[in-house]
């Protein structure tokens, strides 16, 4: 198995542990380093301390800060603004997707996640982000 993710750090934000673990497993198989956060607050803190190469952000998060709010705050920090964020959602409503794009997300990952499709999307967005750096 090719190791396209070697040396790249991905932050997975999801309140459901099994969901985080699934994504982590799939990506680690590709060689990525995966860290997780269960709340928006943790996500923001970890983004600042870990400086991941990409963030997978669940839109629906419990507590005061949901995925959109977290995205907005991360994108407002100059040192983090360049990190691509992919929104993860079980919703298929177009309006939810549009809102995510408006807050600064680079794309979506639909739940249930396709374990073949997900690594492709992640690799593509990391490549695109580094090429524009």
């Amino acid at each position: 198995m090719e190791q396209e993710g070697a040396g790249k750090k991905i932050l997975v934000v999801d309140d459901k542990e099994d969901s985080r673990r699934l994504v982590g497993k799939v990506l680690r198989l590709r060689g990525y380093e995966v860290i997780g956060a269960a709340t928006g607050e943790d996500a923001i803190n970890m983004a600042q301390t870990e400086l991941p190469g990409l963030i997978l952000m669940d839109i629906r998060l419990p507590g005061g800060i949901d995925g959109l709010e977290a995205t907005r705050r991360i994108k407002a920090m100059p040192q983090l603004a360049h990190i691509p964020i992919l929104a993860m959602t079980a919703s298929v409503r177009p309006e939810d997707m549009q809102r995510a794009l408006a807050e600064g997300c680079s794309g979506f990952v639909r739940k249930p996640i396709d374990i073949d499709e997900l690594p492709r999307q992640v690799a593509e967005h990391i490549a695109r982000a580094s090429s524009t750096d």
């Binding site: 699934l22 799939v26 079980a90 919703s91 298929v92 739940k111 249930p112 374990i115």
Partner: protein, 873 residues
């Protein structure tokens, strides 16, 4: 033209009065004419002399100051000789009365002079010497040697710093001053004289004829130089004439102006005036005579006409009225006279006409009796009676051949029952006159005849009946018609009395009375009988009496009204609704339109009790309203429910997908061997979990799509794309599936096909769904996609060689959850929503989708996409 004595008398008196009046006034005017003329002339002359005096004074006053100014001007002292000449020339030109100017130095040498004369030395001249000494000198008026014009020399010193440096001298001509004054014409022989303060003539109309310029001894000159003004008559003037002199002093100069007019001239004017007066008087007399004559004629002529008209009337001529047109008393008299003639003539004419008419009517009645259709007879009294005379109409009426035949029968023979004849003649004998008795008679051939007979009994002095005179009219036909009419009337009466519709006739007016009603109306209104209804007012049957006025106004306005629904009440007050139609009946028995001039006599109308019908209608209406209300409520409830359902489904699908995320993800991980090796049995089991989870996901997705479509939340997103774009995105997925089942997938696209303008994602979803179905339900053979176009649409059709669909199932194949046929067959899992969603997506874009199939041989699914965007999806 005819003079009679009256006009002569009037004329004579008139002429005498006029002549005396005019003659006396003319004589008086003549007596005073000389005085009048003299006064008029002297007033004019004096006035004129005053104007001359004013003018002379004004002009003289301006000369001296001008010269003084000139002498004092510094220019004259400092200027060169040529400039001095220019200055004095200019002054002389401005004042025509100044004839010449010179300027000399202290030695008497002239520096400049006006005109072209040679410069001289004037040191010897006295006036120069006076001025040289520093004094002004204004000379007496003297006649210039050559021209004899009266002149005055004004000589002034030119002084500089108190020293005389030169002399200015100017000659002023009075003739020139007077020229304009003297030029005015004041009469052929009159003359104007201006005398200076020393009595010498300054100006004279006939200057050259004056023998002596010094007129100081003339009494008028003495008077005027004493400052008096006035008129003096009858003295001898300087030319030796007897004159009328008017004189006016020029106070500013101490001079005087005389105007002298020969007395002979005045006499001539007086003579002229007298002639004029005489001529005017004569003309006035002539005019007066003419006027008098016309007036006398005006008065006398109509009187004469009246007189001659009276004569004519006296002789019996009433045809010529008096022709007098004036509006005065004579006119009134003439008019009355004419009216008198007219009434006379009218009475006479009427008398004549009466006598003629009398004659005519006698004639007419004779012929009438012969020719009319009314039988006329005279017969004898007695049991049977005999005809004395009959007219042809009677003979004809009873069918006899001739008058003679008729005279031969008995009167009783004409009766159907001869006894009736006796009864009738008795009645006539008793009453003297019987009119229009209807008798049952018969013709010669026995045909019955109904006769209306009027007969008078003619009696002698003793009261015995001599004979009967009578007329018979054949009324057989009329009786028949009357009978028919009566029958028909009877019929209608029965009709009106038996119908359920009330019929009435009422009077107009605020309350109205019933004139006639039928039993139905009595019943409708709940009264006991007709009589009771006739005793009430029409307004009484209205719930609101004002409505009655409204209704009758409408009938009057339109002439009629139909089917008017009125709120009436029964006798006991029970309200009823009646449908009423009415028409107006005007004087003359006409039920007529509104333009008829006649007065409205009645309203005729019909009335139907529609209370029950209205109640039924009302109930029906209420029922319908209730139903509508119910439907509205239910609809709104349903809408609410539908909204809740959509929201619920959206939430549910999200919640359902979340656990599926883990199920599908982890299963796939293990299935792909990423979590370590698994044996065949485990692989098979995990595959079952995986496929069923995917199916569940599809179901959830399909439900969500449908719920969004139903909630109207699906929005089309139009864009332009090519058919090959679309196909290249669809084919790889389907090809993979087809290959797995060993099927051949082919596709064909019409060449040069247009680009689509549609919702690409939805069109793609539909295409994938149909192709997926084709693969799913085909076990061997091929699947073909064909794309074609017409002018208005793109046509996509997918044909397979699959199991096909029942004919009855074709109708429901696009309904939700209606997976047909193969559902029972294992291995054909599907949501049953795909085609329902496809149908919605295609129809939203304005296209159509349908299926054709033969069981066991395969199916063709076709859908269209319009080339133009639909305006309302």
């Amino acid at each position: 033209m005819r003079f009679n004595r009256l006009s002569h008398q009037i004329l004579l008196v008139f002429v005498l009065v006029v002549i005396v009046c005019l003659g006396v006034s003319g004589w008086f005017v003549m007596q005073f004419s000389e005085n009048i003329v003299t006064r008029k002339i002297s007033e004019g002359d004096l006035n004129f002399a005053g104007r001359i005096a004013q003018q002379v004074a004004a002009e003289m006053a301006s000369v001296k100051p001008t010269l003084t100014l000139l002498a004092e001007s510094t220019g004259l002292r400092l200027m060169e000789a040529t400039e001095v000449k220019g200055t004095i020339d200019r002054v002389q030109r401005s004042f025509p009365e100044i004839t010449s100017i010179y300027v000399a130095d202290v030695e008497g040498e002239q520096i400049a002079r006006t005109g072209t004369g040679k410069l001289e030395n004037v040191s010897k001249i006295w006036s120069f010497q006076v001025a040289r000494g520093g004094d002004e000198l204004v000379s007496d008026i003297y006649l210039k040697p050559m021209t004899s014009e009266p002149v005055q020399t004004i000589t002034l010193p030119i002084i500089d710093n108190g020293t005389v440096v030169g002399v200015l001298s100017a000659d002023v001509s009075f003739t020139r001053i007077m020229v304009s004054v003297m030029g005015i014409y004041i009469g052929k022989n009159a003359n104007v004289v201006v005398v200076a303060d020393n009595g010498r003539v300054v100006a004279h109309t006939r200057m050259k004829q004056v023998p002596e310029l010094d007129l100081a001894r003339l009494p008028v000159v003495e008077a005027v130089l004493a400052g008096e003004k006035g008129t003096m008559k009858g003295y001898t003037d300087e030319l030796g004439r007897q004159v009328l002199g008017s004189y006016m002093p020029i106070r500013e100069l101490g001079w005087g102006v005389l105007i002298q007019r020969p007395l002979a001239d005045i006499d001539a004017e007086v003579g002229q005036l007298r002639t004029t007066i005489i001529l005017v008087t004569i003309a006035a007399v002539l005019l007066a005579v003419l006027a008098g004559w016309l007036m006398s004629r005006q008065i006398a002529k109509p009187i004469g006409q009246l007189a001659s008209a009276s004569e004519r009337v006296a002789q019996g001529d009433l045809s010529t009225p008096v022709d007098v047109k004036s509006s005065n008393e004579i006119g009134v008299l003439a008019h009355s006279f004419n009216q008198m003639i007219v009434s006379l003539k009218k009475s006479r004419d009427e008398l004549q006409q009466w006598s003629e008419e009398l004659q005519e009517s006698e004639e007419k009645y004779r012929t009438l009796a012969e020719n009319v259709n009314v039988g006329v007879y005279r017969n004898t009294p007695g049991p049977k009676g005999e005809f004395i005379e009959v007219n042809p109409a009677l003979v004809k009426m009873f069918g006899y051949k001739s008058r003679k035949e008729m005279l031969s029968i008995n009167v009783a023979d004409l009766y159907q029952n001869p006894k009736e004849r006796e009864k009738f003649s008795d009645k006539v004998a008793r009453e003297g006159l019987v009119r229009g008795e209807e008798l049952q008679l018969k013709k010669k051939d026995g045909t019955p005849l109904i006769g209306a007979v009027s007969t008078v009994a003619v009696k002698d002095e003793e009261g015995r009946v001599q004979h009967y005179d009578g007329i018979i009219e054949d009324i057989t036909e009329r009786k028949k018609v009357e009978e028919a009419l009566r029958e028909s009337e009877e019929k209608y009466r029965t009709l009106t009395e038996n119908v359920n519709i009330g019929i009435y006739r009422v009077t107009p007016g605020p309350k109205g009375n019933f004139i006639e009603v039928n039993p139905a109306l009595v019943k409708i209104l709940g009264y006991k009988n007709k009589k009771e209804v006739l005793s009430i007012n029409v307004a009484d049957i209205y719930q609101n009496p004002k409505e009655r006025k409204k209704f009758s106004d409408k009938v009057i306005r339109q002439g009629f009204a139909t089917g008017e629904e009125l709120q009436l009440k029964k006798r006991d007050g029970t309200p009823i609704i009646a449908s009423v139609s009415a028409i107006i009946v005007r004087a003359g028995g006409k039920a007529a339109g509104r333009d008829d001039a006649g007065n409205i006599l009645y309203f005729d109308g019909i009335m139907e009790d529609i209370t029950k019908r209205k109640q039924a209608e009302e109930e029906l209406r209420k029922h319908r309203e209730h139903l509508e209300e119910l439907v509205k409520e239910r609809t709104s409830e349903l809408e609410e429910m539908s909204r809740h359902k959509s929201q619920f489904l959206a939430n549910m699908s999200h919640e359902l997908r979340t656990p599926l995320n883990s199920i599908i993800g982890y299963t796939k991980l293990m299935l792909d061997g990423l979590e370590g090796d698994i044996n065949e049995e485990q692989q098979k089991d995990l595959h079952t979990v995986y496929t069923n989870s995917k199916h569940l996901l599809e179901l959830i997705n399909g439900l969500l799509d449908l719920s969004r479509i139903e909630a109207g939340k699906t929005v089309l997103s139009y864009g332009t794309f090519t058919v090959s774009d679309l196909i290249s995105e669809v084919i790889p997925t389907i090809e993979q599936l087809a290959r797995e089942k060993g099927l051949i997938l082919t596709y064909s696209v019409a060449p040069d096909i247009d680009r689509l303008y549609a919702d690409k994602a939805k069109t793609k979803q539909v295409l994938i769904n149909i192709l997926g179905n084709a693969v799913k339900f085909t076990n061997e053979g091929s699947i073909n996609l064909n794309v074609d176009e017409t002018d208005s649409d793109f046509i996509f059709s997918v044909t397979d060689t699959g199991i096909g669909i029942n004919e009855e199932d074709l109708e429901v194949v696009f309904d939700s959850f209606k997976q047909v046929g193969p559902a029972q067959i294992a291995g054909y899992e599907g949501t049953g929503l795909g085609l329902a969603i496809s149908k919605q997506f295609i129809e939203m874009q304005g296209g159509r989708i349908w299926a054709e199939s033969e069981l066991g041989k395969g199916s063709t699914f076709t859908f269209t996409v319009p080339k133009k965007k639909v305006t309302s999806p």
